[in-house]
């Protein structure tokens, strides 16, 4: 058994930041990650990192933009903390050596980005995330923080009180990929989940294949509810064949979208008369799909993003890697011709419910980064707001877990925060399958932390044994089924009948999952087992997204419903919560907090 003060699960931007901060506060930290840290998907972020650095800019403007972008579903305490601390974090990155793009006078450059009232997106070429990730990993190396790379965390060791509010997390169980051994990790102070996104729930996504929603699903099954899962951001400019992202930076620099008839449809069809291409992502994605559905798409599939008029010099200076991406993954030369783009799953606004310090309702369990939901992005994330989120909340959680925070959080968590029950007309059962379920264990219930951990390790060993020994179907078939139905039915445009269809398909996938088995008998680097376990998480996440989407009968931010074409503030200014307790699920709501430090945010119409 391994023992540390703090176990950080996941070593993307959020995990690394949390580990560094906890270490600075004197904790003995270990990073446990299924990929080597530099392989995390934070490295794929292109556009930039927002922070109000300029003297003319201010944090409350940034906070306001973020709240407006969230379509008033963000919680003010999180948004205020975020906007206030983002500048420090960006400067901190610079001091750690991050190679930001520079102005002539040697200061860091900032560019305009969609939904921002001031150019405050700091960037490093079109590979900001790569530099951010590597810069922070370098700092981890400098500090000698222990990294267990290629160790897959498959289970949290959480006590089993009936009320999740009373549970405690004592650590986690990790599967050492190279050897197939299962280890317990005892965390004296806490476990921080930073496992990133869940793009694998869909089949057209900008996310990595490793983005399988592990953290969300693990915390959820341990009792921490999922919040606002229906809000999935679809990025308007991804390459049609692979889902590779063409950064918003292209539009930030002046790139233009055209339909098949060479119309600049963002303006000509009035989707966003002021901001045009730079309107927020949900607006642009819907505009594109509407064009495509109206038959104005190119090959009925995509639209064109043109940056040729920017000139070779500017493109090479600021967007060089976009040229490589278009060339390598789509065979298109961006200097010569427009690039084909279409919307693709990009970011999960919802996630594990946490307060503004990243704490879940379970004692000792934290979540930060894309897998968490402090309700910063609400129903729609602004471009360039995720990277500062990793930094700000990573560092807040790191400080908190190391015991360096005195204040009480303002955002309530857990079932205690429930304001109202929810219900949907589900066509099938939700949650766990009734049979005893040997391949999907939950936590154990025992007295001492070590016992809890031991029991969880045992359960995990059993699960892996079962998967290895029995005969059954390939998980890939199940995963594909989920991805297909999600892409077809829970996409940008959502209709009741489709959502119900998706629930049926997911249920079917869940039942099929009872039959999965791993064909590879080896203990050495068995990725078959990992992917099989991941698929379980994909199913749970898919269900939560769909349930949320079916429940929320309004159109807000990224969530669009066919029959509910307006934002209904009277009824829906609340978070959708979806909780799991021993196989049974519960849908409920909790209020949105709009009273900020400086201002109370008044919901206004969101127009760009």
């Amino acid at each position: 058994m391994h023992e540390h003060d703090v176990i950080v699960v996941g070593a993307g931007g959020a995990g690394l930041r949390a580990a560094i901060e906890a270490h600075e506060e004197g904790a003995d930290v270990a990073l446990v990650t299924k990929l080597h840290p530099v392989r995390s998907h934070t490295g794929a972020a292109e556009g930039g990192i927002n922070a109000a650095l300029h003297p003319e800019d201010s944090w409350d403007l940034h906070a306001y933009d973020t709240m407006k972008g969230s379509d008033y579903l963000g919680d003010a305490p999180a948004i205020d903390a975020f906007a206030q601390e983002a500048p420090d974090e960006v400067i901190q990155l610079e001091h750690w050596g991050m190679p930001f793009s520079r102005e002539e006078d040697g200061t860091v450059s900032q560019r305009p980005f969609g939904g921002l009232s001031h150019p405050r997106t700091t960037y490093a070429g079109a590979e900001t995330g790569h530099h951010l990730l590597h810069t922070m990993y370098e700092q981890v190396v400098k500090r000698g923080i222990e990294v267990y790379d290629e160790w897959y965390v498959s289970q949290l060791a959480v006590t089993e009180e009936d009320d999740p509010d009373e549970r405690t997390c004592y650590g986690a169980v990790a599967y050492e990929i190279a050897t197939g051994e299962i280890h317990g990790f005892y965390a004296r102070d806490g476990v921080i989940l930073a496992t990133g996104g869940l793009g694998e729930v869909f089949d057209h996504t900008t996310n990595a294949i490793a983005c399988t929603g592990d953290g969300q699903a693990m915390a959820y099954r341990a009792g921490a509810p999922m919040e606002d899962m229906e809000f999935v951001q679809f990025h308007p400019t991804t390459l049609p064949s692979t889902g590779v992202l063409i950064s918003e930076g292209v539009r930030g620099e002046g790139g233009i979208l055209y339909n098949d008839e060479e119309e600049r449809f963002m303006f000509e069809h009035g989707y966003a008369n002021n901001e045009g291409e730079l309107a927020s992502r949900d607006v642009v994605s819907r505009a594109e799909l509407t064009q495509i559905n109206e038959g104005k798409g190119i090959e009925d599939e995509y639209v064109h993003l043109d940056m040729r008029h920017l000139g070779e010099e500017r493109i090479l200076d600021r967007l060089e890697n976009i040229l490589h991406l278009a060339e390598d993954f789509e065979g298109v030369d961006g200097l010569d011709e427009p690039m084909p783009v279409k919307p693709g799953q990009h970011y999960q606004m919802g996630g594990i419910e946490v307060d503004e310090y990243g704490q879940t309702c379970i004692d000792g369990l934290y979540a930060v980064g894309e897998c968490a939901c402090y309700s910063l992005h609400g129903s729609n994330r602004l471009g360039g707001n995720a990277l500062p989120e990793l930094m700000v909340f990573g560092s807040r959680a790191g400080r908190h877990v190391a015991g360096a925070v005195g204040e009480e959080p303002e955002i309530p968590t857990g079932p205690g925060a429930k304001s109202e029950n929810g219900s949907i007309d589900a066509p099938v059962n939700l949650g766990g399958v009734a049979d005893p379920d040997p391949v999907a264990t939950d936590g154990g219930e025992l007295a001492t932390p070590q016992d809890v951990l031991e029991a969880t390790v045992e359960a995990e060993r059993e699960r892996v044994e079962t998967l290895l020994e029995r005969d059954g179907i390939n998980h890939a078939d199940v995963r594909e089924k989920v991805q297909k139905t999600m892409t077809e039915n829970v996409n940008v445009f959502r209709e009741e009948s489709n959502l119900k269809q998706a629930l049926k398909d997911i249920r079917e996938a869940r039942e099929l999952y009872q039959e999965v088995a791993v064909r590879d008998p080896s203990r050495t680097y068995n990725t078959d087992i990992l992917h099989t376990i991941e698929t379980r998480n994909v199913i749970d996440c898919a269900e939560a997204i769909t349930v949320g989407a079916l429940a929320r009968e309004e159109f807000r931010g990224a969530h669009w419903r066919m029959k509910h074409q307006e934002r209904k503030d009277d009824e829906w200014l609340k978070h959708t919560m979806y909780a799991w307790n021993d196989g049974k699920t519960d849908l409920y709501y909790k209020p949105v907090i709009l009273e900020g430090e400086e201002q109370t945010y008044e919901p206004k119409e969101r127009s760009y």
Binding site: L35, H36, V38, R39, H41, G43, A44, P87, I91, E94, W96, G97, P99, F100, S101, R102, E103, G106, T107, E138, Q139, V141, K142, A208, I209, A210, T242, G243, V244, L245, H324, L325, D328, F329, E330, G331, I473, N474, H475, A476, D477, E480, K481, S497, N498, Q501, E508, E511, L512, Q514, E515, R519, D520, P521, S522, T524, Y525, N526, T527, D528
Partner: protein
């Protein structure tokens, strides 16, 4: 949309399965799914105009049939824009789920899938099938120990990367609150290419010198040192220290300018150029001491 059609068939299956036990129902579903999948697979193979043969290196120290390294062939349908990684995933998900390789981002930023493809180190996700000669031979990176199938042990590579003290370490920081260090755009331009490394290990694998001398820092680590040594934000003292590290016994002098590192680097980093520049910097700094 085809929603309606699916819905109909769905209700049918549901009605007819109502009297069955859950176990039976599941088995039936499973068979049905398997039939569907098989149909789909053969449809895919038919639909694709061409198929490609992949010859993939297999090895597993624990599985008797795989203890002796061998090559397995897989027939994969070819679609336009298909990359080697796509083909590998297809082969794994369709034919043999024990086929093992690293992958994640699919867009050449995570550095997981550097492989030896048709005799050259390349990223699977960045290599278009049409650009290769068929059949395609896929092996793990040479000069590294194979853990299983296409997975090599990267530990040594990481150690070399860590050996050059790969972290920013300025002599001093600005005093002002929220004040950044200044760096000219020219200086950023100078280090820009070197900061692109994704730690894929392709360069190290291609270098004969690294193959012969396990302690050689290797092109990636030297490039990492270059990234910091040339960054004007770090002071001159630190730069001297960095030069001392790279001109050690197994440092830059080992490089025989074979250029293969530069040729295979998927991020187009001019590695040889950087190594050579460091050699000259080292000579210059030593001349100063004279």
């Amino acid at each position: 949309m085809s929603t309606q059609v699916t819905e109909q068939t769905e209700t049918e299956t549901e009605e007819q399965t109502e009297e069955q036990s859950p176990g039976e129902r599941r088995r039936e579903k499973k068979e049905q799914l398997q039939r569907e999948r098989e149909q789909e697979k053969s449809d895919l193979l038919d639909e694709a105009e061409e198929t490609v043969e992949l010859k993939i290196f297999r090895y597993d120290p624990e599985v008797p049939e795989k203890e002796e390294p061998r090559f397995d062939s897989f027939e994969v349908p070819f679609f336009e824009g298909m990359t080697v990684l796509d083909a590998l995933i297809y082969a794994r998900d369709t034919y043999d789920s024990s086929l093992t390789f690293r992958h994640s981002c699919r867009q050449a930023v995570c550095g997981s899938d550097a492989l030896f493809i048709n005799g050259k180190q390349r990223l699977g996700c960045k290599t278009q099938m049409v650009d290769l000669e068929w059949p395609i031979r896929i092996e793990p990176l040479p000069h590294q120990e194979v853990v299983k199938d296409l997975v090599v042990d990267m530990e040594h590579f990481y150690e070399q990367m860590h050996a050059v003290e790969p972290y920013f370490d300025p002599d001093e920081l600005p005093d002002g609150e929220r004040e950044e260090q200044r760096q000219t755009p020219e200086n950023r331009e100078k280090v820009k290419l070197s900061t692109r490394c994704i730690w894929c290990g392709a360069c190290m694998s291609s270098c004969n010198v690294a193959a012969g001398d396990n302690q050689y820092l290797g092109p990636a680590a030297i490039n990492k040192a270059y990234r910091f040594a040339m960054d004007e934000r770090e002071g001159t003292d630190r730069k001297e220290d960095r030069l001392r590290i790279i001109e050690q016994e197994h440092g830059v002098w080992r490089c025989q300018t074979q250029f293969s590192c530069t040729e295979v680097c998927p991020k187009d980093i001019p590695l040889t150029e950087h190594i050579q520049e460091l050699k000259r910097e080292a000579v210059k700094s030593n001349l100063k001491f004279w």
